[in-house]
Each structure stands twice: as structure tokens, then as C-alpha cells.
Amino acid sequence: MLWSSAEAHTVDLGNPREVQEVRQFLQGFDLAYNGDVDYTVAFYDERLQIIATGSLKNNVLCNIAVAESLQGEGFTASVVSHLMREAATHGLYHYFLFTKPDMVPQFSSLCFKEIARSDSLAVLLESGIGSIGSFLHSIANETVNLPVGRRAALVVNCNPFTLGHEAVIARASRENDAVIVLVVSEDQSAFPFAVRFRLVQEGLKKYPNVCVLPSGPYIISAATFPGYFTKGQDTVAAQTRLDATIFGQWIAPALGVTRRYVGDEPYSEVTRQYNEALLEVLPQYGIEVVIMPRKQAGTEIISASRVRQCINKDEWQTIRRMVPETTYAYLVSSEAQIVLQKLRTMGNIYHRNV
């Protein structure tokens, strides 16, 4: 058939029948349809059979497949172009894409560049405006004024910043010449990124060898933590390993980091698996992983999720024991009330690192 006779159709994600058609089509390629997407396009032939599909979640292209009989005729280019145009309408021009290793050549020919691969399972590619090269350059520039010598890094969400975070960072600050704290940029937590970042900065002012930076699009982001290229339980394992690989292969060398500190995680299963992946992957790149036990306030372990629980229950005495002055001052400020209100109505559904 001719590609020109194929019709692009935006899949109504609320229509179970349409979604099921896409799901079935992808099954033929041994791909699980990840339903957590913002946009799905399907191309139909004149008999109204799906011949190609692709989806978008923010700036991550996923669920891309083209009927076998039509492969090699440039149809992947049409699907990818269509998704890029859709992303552009939302002001997104930096694209990520996950795929299996055997599909890489197809996307390389569309100017997608490989960032990293985790085992034989998945490869992360990027294209558009922005690249890991320019990102590494910019974060390296931000850290030139730090003292020379042994450098450590931490990746923290700090939702919000607690005395537990401070304790881990204080120890890293003592044990190393310089410490780089990367605050997760992805805005998917109860406290907005701008607030989390500011509270970390304010809380760490007294440590002169500590530098606080946004983690950017390559560490614990929607791009490095996708959900479709493998099925079920493997998903988290593959994602955490990919994220760890990018850190070991690219981020750490650019920052001159040889150690990464993480907080022990007794509560969140996802974080526990993430720590496991770091322990397994980072030493291969010559990076030592230091796991710190949680700091306690009295008999209780300090954690950001506990602080959020206490906010829900209005237990301000407990909060006071768990957060530094700077965070406390923010929490009781009028500025915080909208965030706290949102937190109370949503409940706590987030599982994040330290």
C-alpha cells in the first residue's frame, strides 16, 4: 500500500476499544502498551487496520511500532515526526526515546543519539534541542569553584528537606573535599521543585564545600525512569539500572565525582531497588557507593514521607524535631499553605529517593 493513503488518527485514550486495538497491535511486536501516556497516534490503512502507532508522555516517545510488511520504507520517520510535532505544540523540543537494542539503527537514522543502555534490555536515545553533552558541560561549569580533591555526590528529592537529609550531607561534607547535591528536577512531588531546591540551598548554607544543583533531565527523570520497554517486575529493575548507568558513565566523570552517598531506605520498595542498582552498577565505573543509616529523632526514623504524614495530621511538634529551622519556617509561612492544602487533599502517594 502507499503511505499517502494511510490515515493518522489521534487515539481517544478514554475509549477502551481504541486503546485495546493499539494494545493488540503492539503485542504483535512483543511490546507492552504503557497506558500512562498523554497522547497516542495510530495510522490506519484503507481496510481500517492499524499499520503503525506511537505515543508520547511529556517529551518521551514510546510505544512505537510499524507493521512488519511496511518496515524499511520510512514509516518510522512519519510516526516520529508526528509525535515531535505534537510535543512541539506543548513547547517541548528535546525528545527522549526508549527502544530495544536491535531497533537502535532505525532511530539513529532519524538523528537520535544514544545516551546509554542498560544490559541488553533497553537503550535510551535523545534528539532535538539539548543533549547530554551540553548538559554535562553546564553542570561541570557550575562546579569549577568547588575545592579540588575527592568529590562526592548525592541525588535527593527532599520532599521536603529534613534533618535526615542534612545529616547524610553533613557526613559527606566531612568525609570529602567537596560535595555536589543534585536535587531531582522532575516536578512530580508534593512540594514544587522551586521550593524543594530553595529549602535544600537554605538548609546547606553552612557547609562551604557543598554545591546544590538541579539534577536535570538525566537523573531520576521521566526520561530515565520510563515504564514500557520491559514488562511487569523487570520494569523497575531495568529503569534503575539505566539511571545508574547514566550516572556512572556520564554524570560522575563530568563532575569529577568518585563517591555517591545514599540514605538507607526502610520504607520505599522503589528506592530500595534503586539503591541496589546503584550498588551493582556504580562500582563498575569506579564509583564507591556509601549507604548511610537513617538519622533518628528520639525513637523515630526521620524521613520526608513521615514529615508529609505529620502535615496531614497536623503534628507540628514531631515536624519540628525532624526538619531544620529553614524548612520549618517555610512550612508555617503563608506561602506554603497552598502546597500543604494540596498535600492534605491528595494524601501521600509519592515514593521518592531519600
Binding site: A77, S81, M84, R85, Y93, G128, I129
Partner: protein, 95 residues
């Protein structure tokens, strides 16, 4: 000399087309070109893009071009559309 205000994009990655993305930059004209016919036509494509920037009097711009063998007229159309979407005021240029 004019500047663009935001990012603009036009074109596709399909054969015989070119995808142009323009981004505001501090100064100058910076072209990042990838083409399947780079050895044969790389310089010509660059020249076409530079000429349009001159005609439109645009500076402080970064242009990313992914070329799949587009003809000169296609390149012109895609670049002008990308500029238009980036908020530039397109001037009519007599050939």
C-alpha cells in the same frame, strides 16, 4: 537586526524533507546541520540557511537542521515557517 522570541519548528524527518528547529541564542547565527547528503550538499544547505537569516535580518539564533535530502525550495519553506512560528516577522524578499 531582529531576534526571535521563542522556539519554532517546521518540517519532518521524512525522505526529501528537512526538520528545522530555531532557538533564541545570545548572539550570532549558529547552525547545527545533520544531513544524509552532507559530503555533497552540506555547504549548500548551510549557505541557503545563512542567506535566509541575512534576508530576514535575524541574529541571536541557533538553528538545528536535520536534512533528509530536501530541495532548496523545501529548505527555504521550512526555515521561513520555523522563523514565523518562533515569532519573527517574515519580510517578503524579491528574488
Amino acid at each position: 537586526m531582529a531576534k526571535i522570541e521563542k522556539t519554532g519548528q517546521a518540517g519532518t524527518l521524512e525522505s526529501s524533507d528537512i526538520m528545522i528547529t530555531v532557538v533564541p541564542d545570545k548572539s550570532g547565527i549558529q547552525i547545527e546541520l545533520e544531513s544524509i547528503v552532507m559530503p555533497q550538499y552540506g555547504d549548500a544547505i548551510r549557505a541557503t540557511i545563512e542567506k535566509i537569516m541575512k534576508e530576514q535580518q535575524i541574529e541571536g539564533i541557533r538553528i538545528k537542521a536535520i536534512d533528509k535530502g530536501a530541495l532548496d525550495c523545501t529548505i527555504r519553506a521550512r526555515v521561513l515557517t520555523a522563523l514565523d512560528r518562533a515569532g519573527a516577522e517574515i519580510r517578503e524578499v524579491l528574488a
